[in-house]
Symmetry: C2
Subunit: 114 residues, 2 copies
Amino acid sequence: MESETVVRALSALAQEHRLALFRLLVQAGPDGLAAGAIAESLGVPASSLSFHLAQLTNAGLIAQRRDGRSLIYTADYGAMTALLGFLMENCCGGAVCVPAAPGDTKDKNERTAA
Amino acid sequence: MESETVVRALSALAQEHRLALFRLLVQAGPDGLAAGAIAESLGVPASSLSFHLAQLTNAGLIAQRRDGRSLIYTADYGAMTALLGFLMENCCGGAVCVPAAPGDTKDKNERTAA
DNA sequence: CAGATATTTCGATAATATTCGAAATGATTT
DNA sequence: AAATCATTTCGAATATTATCGAAATATCTG
């Protein structure tokens, strides 16, 4: 995974509306949501939303499919996992350091490390 | 974890120099690196680097300690793990979907979900 | 084909980020 | 305390991002 790709993905998520949007799609699952439904849910004008959808699409984090006159957007879980993988990949020079299971929101960062 | 905190952390990482900087610190481990060493390693002027260090510090992703006349920066692994945790936390409405271990770079996103 | 609906593109404006040299601060040495 | 070294703050130029209405595009319905 190229560092430029990662920056684009992080940039895409580094914005209130888009983070909310992405999480909305993640929770919506494979069925996804139509652009209109998202706009309403987020309280963002259609044209603004379209801009944000384009950013996320461009970053490869979401995908588009057409259903009638609606465009349905879905989260790309693969891209997400790849991103997370990249962020921990060279952690501590390869030592085991993030054994925490998903959902475990522990905040301590004491480590024996090296 | 507040969404605003997450956005700040993502914003901090969503920039070539800072992503490289953070990864440099992650790999450097608990010993960390002096600002000067980082500046040289990244090929960035001192004042620019200082700006980026401030961003990462402000986002809580790195910490500072003084050693003589040098300021040593280290990655905050706890903040990092918290961020990753948040990003997967509500994934698929709570269904198990990212069981992949760190280092496993699988790219498929087929899921039975709901 | 005309009308209605869903969404995107355009264009202009406002807001935020990045960059880097020069000057300021803090810590060390002599 | 003066000189020196490491780093940060300031200020100002440049670049990138976000916002949203109006107009354009694409799809469906009658």
